[in-house]
Homo-oligomer: 366 residues x 2
């Protein structure tokens, strides 16, 4: 069964006549094609039983040469005034007006949406995220192998970067050093995200950007980083002690480490995602730090940094073999310091496995 | 005049009551705030005369601490079922229903759009790109200085990477080496784009991705790369000869070099963008290679890799002091090789200046 066949089946199950996709993981998963998301719209239209149509800039058409499936190109030139007519032709070629055309609201921009809608004013555009997530949510062996390599590259890179760590470096400097090592160790240049390197008060912000403050003794240092290998990513976090740190920081590190272990142990086929969240969260709540764990326990991972399934307390979705996700509990003490420990998991036939194995114990660097 | 004051004036001129912005350059330009674009929607709503409202995840609210302007936060928790109500409250707080709410179709996703529209079902959502582009299109001295540094970092990085070039490296290997050097020389990790390194037949594709083919003697090597400094970017291209190359390749390099010089010379205040395109294009057409120059001559540049003004034959927009843009003519011989030479320009009081000065003559590397 080709990936387009899987898509056709999923669209039928969800009552959708077609999908309209812009550049991103779903389009790449289906076609192998990669485009930058830019001011020139690119849209793939697919309706079961017909070759897909793709609207794209003339200067991108070379990418279609040698594809292992039929696709009808609708190229356009540099003048945006022409684009509307080209989109209309593409939409009409698949006879999509009045149909139910699924879209990905997290990916599709108004730019592409308005052109597609221009060609199909009577169509409806329901959210097809679930129909599409289903295609990619269970990874095959080949995909897991790529993720395993992305984890290995990331771990090796951080180990190398730590050899060059010096107290007094700024967060930005260590982030740049880590990025260099990620590339040296084999990550693709399109990384899943820029490494988060946050120390001291900045570490209390789970989504901090690296800043210009020097990393000093007494800080906890949160490093949240990942690599890309063959389009698949890793997303890990470790927290280090810079020299001697306060007793409470050692304590919260220990609690988060136990929460991470409990979260990692909880996954197996048939278990709801909510149970993974609960396993990690309970450890932190019992220790009295519940209010300081301000986010869900994890998210799916694969071609995207955040994808289904989400490890959230209200998510009753059942885990299945091949699902891959993060376990990343944390404790954040506002204005002081934070701890997060994150691993990448895969559900196996009868349990789960952590793709990452870098030591989780609090390591002192200086 | 603050940037929000400029925005208020521009909205009035374009007959807009408000704007809805998701994370991206416009939001960062106005507020200094940076967010990753992810599955959790973030939207800033602004209507003149009122503090802006921002809908964002609870765990991102720390970023609002210490902002130099009033903003009303509408934070939400982890359960997407709650988000709709939070968006409604934010939209109602500014009394936006029935109003004309400008949007950026190239940035705003259906995700954010549908939540905003949920709170303002009677509003209209016209394209505010022009009203917003006007804010950022003329750079002040501080912005030009950042771009100058982004150019310098890029040039130094390529020079360093070339020292490590070896015939037989793959495009991907040289792209990784260049990325490492960009970071070492001071680029922020969020680069404007992954370097394009394309040799031989791949160089005939203006938007190629680096591939696994070794770069061999006789190839032209196109390197299209840039750096980010303080949120501003550079975007340059140089084409090298790998050892001895065919006479026709030397010839097209010479033609493109002349086209680049003509395009660089054409800009000054009051001149239409179309004239810059025509200046470069005429050189290539006169040499008989017109059909092989398949894209516009350039695009605006600043916080984004592609922004207004566009150097296109049909663009009658007049250049003004402080506008910054690329001049990047090329000749692409399908299946064989390509040449592109790209510089970054700024319009001065009475002419223009190239921010980039790396030698443009065909340099032989081996």
């Amino acid at each position: 069964m080709t990936r387009f066949d899987k898509l056709s089946a999923s669209l039928r199950d969800f009552g959708l006549d077609a999908v309209a996709l812009n550049p991103g993981p779903t389009l790449t998963y289906l076609t192998g094609l990669r485009f930058h998301l830019m001011e020139r719209p690119v849209v793939l239209l697919f309706a079961p039983g017909q070759p897909p149509a793709i609207v794209l800039p003339e200067l991108e058409t070379q990418k279609l040469v040698g594809l292992p499936f039929d696709v009808t190109p609708f190229p356009y030139g540099e003048n945006p005034a022409e684009w509307d007519a080209v989109f209309r032709r593409a939409v009409h070629s698949l006879n999509l007006d009045g149909k139910s055309i699924g879209v990905e609201p997290r990916a599709l921009r108004l730019l592409e949406f308005r052109y597609v809608k221009g060609g199909a004013p009577e169509a409806s555009f329901p959210d097809a995220s679930s129909a599409l997530a289903r295609l990619r949510i269970c990874k095959d062996q080949d995909e897991v192998q790529k993720m395993r390599r992305a984890v290995q590259v990331a771990q090796n890179a951080l180990e190398a970067a730590l050899q060059n760590f010096k107290v007094g470096m700024t967060e930005k400097e260590f982030a740049a050093e880590l990025t260099v090592q990620l590339l040296r160790h084999g990550s693709e240049p399109e990384m899943p995200f820029s490494p988060i390197v946050s120390a001291g008060p900045n570490g209390a912000n789970p989504h901090a950007s690296p800043g210009g403050r020097p990393i000093v003794r007494g800080d906890l240092l949160v490093v949240d980083w990942g690599a890309t290998v063959d389009g698949y990513i890793s997303d890990l976090t470790r927290t280090f002690a810079v020299g001697e740190v306060e007793a409470e920081y050692r304590k919260i590190h220990q609690i988060v480490q136990e929460a991470n272990a409990a979260g990692r142990a909880a996954g197996k086929p048939g278990v709801p995602c909510a149970d993974v969240d609960a396993a990690a969260r309970t450890v932190i709540e019992k220790a009295g730090y519940g209010p300081y764990f301000t986010h869900r326990t994890g998210h799916g991972i694969g071609m995207e940094g955040h994808e289904e399934p989400y490890m959230r307390g209200d998510n009753l979705q059942l885990l299945e073999e091949g699902m891959t996700y993060t376990v990343e509990p944390g404790i954040y003490l506002p204005g002081r310091n934070g701890v997060r420990i994150e691993d990448n998991m895969v559900i196996t036939q009868d349990g789960c496995e952590s793709l990452s194995d870098m030591a989780r114990e609090m390591r002192v660097i200086e």
